[in-house]
């Protein structure tokens, strides 16, 4: 017990005294995950809108497919991407394996189904009259879509935050296609795994505290926007 307290104390010291190595890992994690979520969100939400509004054959099947991908293990995505990006793989010439770009691509694969499925649920909750009213008042299609997105913004924000939570906390993809290279592809989760295997618990716990704080912040923010949604509806 004393050992755990002592290690936690050391972890807090690392965080509070701005340990450069530790904070560079945190920054890299946020940088990779933010890129992944920002690149994925517009495409995923447009697809979610298309699935709901397009009413084309197979749209239900596509939605069911994305729903089934919600719980896909991150190592499976990592493995799939590894096979594609390895030197002998179809995209080996791009030399992306063990780069931040590979991590971003992997995380995009991971959050895409989350954004499509939860985005679809949010868009589905929009009143049909939003689209009709926007269109009859002269809005072009793209603006009518933005109007729907604005009307269900709390649901969409919840989808984005859930997607971000999924990618920032994943370890399988980052480990497999990032390679856990110090200062280049080492992020919070791969660093925790490495430090723990070395017996360096202080840094692992410090990084764990960052992830935990983020989880609390995301949950608190989600609760806040849910309560705001209740007030405005």
């Amino acid at each position: 017990m004393n050992g755990l307290l002592l290690t936690t104390q050391q972890a807090l010291q690392l965080l509070l005294y701005g340990d450069a190595e530790l904070w560079s890992i945190v920054l890299l994690s946020f940088s990779v995950s933010l890129k992944a979520i920002l690149l994925t969100t517009p495409v995923a939400l447009l697809l979610a809108f298309g699935l709901h509004h397009g009413n084309f054959p197979g749209s239900r099947f596509i939605l069911a497919f994305f729903n089934s991908l919600l719980s896909v293990p991150t190592v499976v995505v990592g493995l799939f991407l590894y096979v594609l990006l390895t030197r002998q793989g179809p995209f080996g010439d791009l030399k992306l394996l063990f780069t931040q770009s590979a991590m971003v691509i992997g995380q995009m694969f991971l959050c895409f189904p989350v954004l499509v499925a939860l985005g679809y649920a949010a868009i589905q909750s929009a009143d049909r009259r939003v689209w009709e009213t926007a269109r009859t008042l002269g809005a072009p299609r793209w603006f009518a879509i933005l109007t729907i997105f604005y009307e269900v913004r709390f649901g969409l924000l919840a989808a984005v935050l859930t997607g971000f939570g999924r990618v920032i906390s994943e370890v399988g993809i980052s480990m497999m296609v990032g390679g856990n290279i110090m200062g280049y592809t080492r992020n919070i989760t791969t660093a925790i795994a490495l430090e723990t295997s070395k017996g360096e618990f202080a840094q692992g716990i410090a990084l764990g505290l960052v992830l935990l704080s983020l989880a609390f912040l995301l949950t608190a923010f989600l609760s806040y926007i849910q309560s705001k949604k209740r007030v405005t509806t």
Binding site: D127, R129, V130, E132, T133, A134, R135, T136, L137, G138, A139, P140, F143, T147, Y150, E151, T232, T233
Partner: protein, 217 residues
Amino acid sequence: MSEPLFVFHGIEKTFAEVKILRKVDLSLFPGKCILLTGKNGSGKTTLLKIIAGLEKPEKAEIELSGKSRCWKKFMPIIRKEIIYLHQQAFLFSGSVESNVAYGLRFTTLTREQRRESLKKALEWSGLTELAKQQANTLSGGVQQRVAFTRAWILKPKVLLLDEPVSNMDQESREQACLLMQQMKSSGMSIVITSHVPQYFDGLADVQYDLANGQLLQ
């Protein structure tokens, strides 16, 4: 009688293998009001949505400036001149003035002209004092007034009102009818659907009953 704005010929629509509109013809004249009555599910709302370009018919022709073409050809042109209002007014989240000004951004008006139009429209409907209020906190009657104003500000040639005074108290109903009368006087063509024709006695110029997919005068 003046020239019709738009003439719709042979509108046909089927839902679940039931033909709800059978070769319906309808002419819309400036400054005239048509009252559409009919049972629930008779196709009144569908007809209005087809005219507004919000619903696709199986068949329809539109006559414009003496030429008659398939609806697909003319609809993109005429839909800019037609505004449809839902039975229960739908207002976007935001203030009354942001709702009223919504459609202005798609016009060619300058920012200054838009501001002036907004001011006039709010004065026209007596909503100036409520301009900053959240639209979805207002009563049903006032929400309908906001929806009228949001349409009026765009000066459409045709206004389609789906059960505009249902669920309104007498005072709100009278206010709404007054606004409709003013819109009609300004030259707008108005089509109203209602279960209670008496509410529009002084307003409607012609009344049609939609039954078995056909319009009967």
